[in-house]
Structure formats: structure tokens, C-alpha cells
């Protein structure tokens, strides 16, 4: 089993949910989060600064601002990982910085509380 953690734009949540459903992932967990990446300049601010807006120019040097994001976590079977990752990328990709990240972590065991089932059975 693998844990897929995806950090996506907040306006992409509906598409991302649909994408997970298309992959056969019904169960997932979402969380509001704030984050920043490598610190690229916001293209809109850059554009504004080029047009001579002083406010935009003063924001140019600003680094480390946290942007609102959604953190989606799903525990999936090994064979589903490739499909999940590719679908989330396809749906969320705009090519601009800030599209988000996907991490894949190993999960050693899982339990369904209702029945006590362990392992792959508990997530299928």
C-alpha cells in the first residue's frame, strides 16, 4: 500500500475529486493547508510591475508568502499509484508555478475500524 499526498490549488478540488473517482479511489482525506514552494515570482505581480504599478513592484522582493492550498491524502494499492499520480497531474497541470506537488509514501499497514480488517482488504 502507498500513501499519495497531493497538494493542489483550492479551485481544483472538484476536478481532483472527480479524477480520484475516475481512478477507482473512493476514499480520501482532505485538509486545508497553506504552503509555499521554491519561491518563484508570481507572474501576475511581474506583469503588474512591468506595467509600472508601484504596488506590484514593491511586492517583487517579497518571498516566503504562504498561499492557501488543499492537501489531499489517499491510501491506495501499489498498482493504483501510477494511475492516481498521472491523473492528478493531468487534471491539475496549468504549467504555472503553484500547481502543487505529489508525494508517494510507503504505508506498512491499515485497519478498517468497523470490521477490524487489516492490510489491502481494509482499503478495497
Amino acid at each position: 500500500m502507498k500513501e499519495v499526498i497531493a497538494i493542489v490549488r483550492i479551485n481544483m478540488m472538484n476536478q481532483t475529486k472527480q479524477a480520484l473517482t475516475d481512478c477507482g479511489i473512493d476514499a480520501f482525506f482532505a485538509h486545508e493547508a497553506h504552503g509555499r514552494g521554491k519561491g518563484f515570482v508570481n507572474p501576475k505581480i511581474l506583469e503588474g510591475a512591468e506595467q509600472g504599478y508601484e504596488e506590484a513592484a514593491s511586492l517583487l522582493g517579497e518571498k516566503g508568502k504562504l498561499y492557501p492550498k488543499r492537501l489531499v491524502t489517499a491510501v491506495v494499492e501499489d498498482k493504483q499509484v501510477a494511475c492516481v499520480v498521472q491523473t492528478i497531474i493531468n487534471i491539475n497541470q496549468t504549467g504555472m508555478p503553484g500547481d502543487g506537488k505529489i508525494f508517494v509514501l510507503p504505508i506498512s499497514d491499515a485497519v478498517r475500524v468497523r470490521t477490524g480488517e487489516m492490510g489491502v482488504k481494509s482499503i478495497s
Binding site: 497553506h34 492537501l71 505529489i102 508525494f103 509514501l105
Partner: protein, 118 residues
């Protein structure tokens, strides 16, 4: 190889830790609010026990080679002045098998997070 560092810290220390990580060259981080208790079972004030204390979770994925440096940076910044105090938080480290940048769609190598952007 990459690792995920999840640190649970005091909310009032979050800004300082974020600034320290930025200065240390590890800008990429995700923050969310959590509530929890530690092995002191919360705080007892008078007759009231508070066992859901608000904390902030910081999540960052870095190159395994930078693990000790990042942990040290977070720890030094998040610790209460002097010897530290109960409730300063915890740091957990876990392996990340794969990492992808959505905007480019490519799988990241060890240089995924932290360091100077290419």
C-alpha cells in the same frame, strides 16, 4: 532519496520557523493547523484539563542528505528559549518514495525540494 519532515510546533513559533527555513535555503513547506496532546496529557490548570492543544504542523520534503541540517534548524528555532519547555513539539521523519511537480509533470529527483531553484 527524499524524506518528509513533519514537525508539530507551537503556533506562535510558526513564523520564526518559516523564516529560518527560508534563510536556510529550504523555502518549500506546507503548513496546517492541528490539535493534540503529548505524553504530559495536556495542561492542567486548576481543575480543568486541556488535552486538545492547538499546534501547527509544518510539512516539507527534502533531500535525505539535508535531513540533519533541516531538523536542527527547526529544532533550534522552535524550542522555547533556554532549556525548552513541554509542548514545544515533535519532529517526525518518513521516507518519500516518489515526488512529482504538477506544473511540469515530471518526477523529481533528489533535488526536489530545498536548494536554489534551477
Amino acid at each position: 532519496m527524499m524524506i518528509m519532515i513533519r514537525s508539530i510546533i507551537r503556533p506562535e513559533k510558526a513564523d520564526a520557523v518559516l523564516a529560518a527555513l527560508m534563510d536556510a535555503g529550504f523555502p518549500a513547506v506546507t503548513k496546517y493547523s492541528v490539535a493534540g496532546r503529548g505524553k504530559q496529557r495536556g495542561i492542567k490548570i486548576g481543575d480543568v484539563t486541556y488535552d486538545e492543544l492547538p499546534k501547527v504542523m509544518l510539512m516539507s520534503v527534502v533531500n535525505a542528505a539535508d535531513k540533519d541540517f533541516v531538523i536542527q534548524t527547526i529544532m533550534d528555532t522552535a524550542r522555547t528559549k533556554g532549556k525548552g519547555a513541554f509542548g514545544d513539539g515533535k519532529i517526525f521523519v518518513s521516507e518519500v518514495e516518489e515526488s512529482y511537480t504538477i506544473s511540469s509533470g515530471v518526477q523529481d529527483t533528489a533535488a526536489a525540494s530545498g536548494g536554489v531553484p534551477a
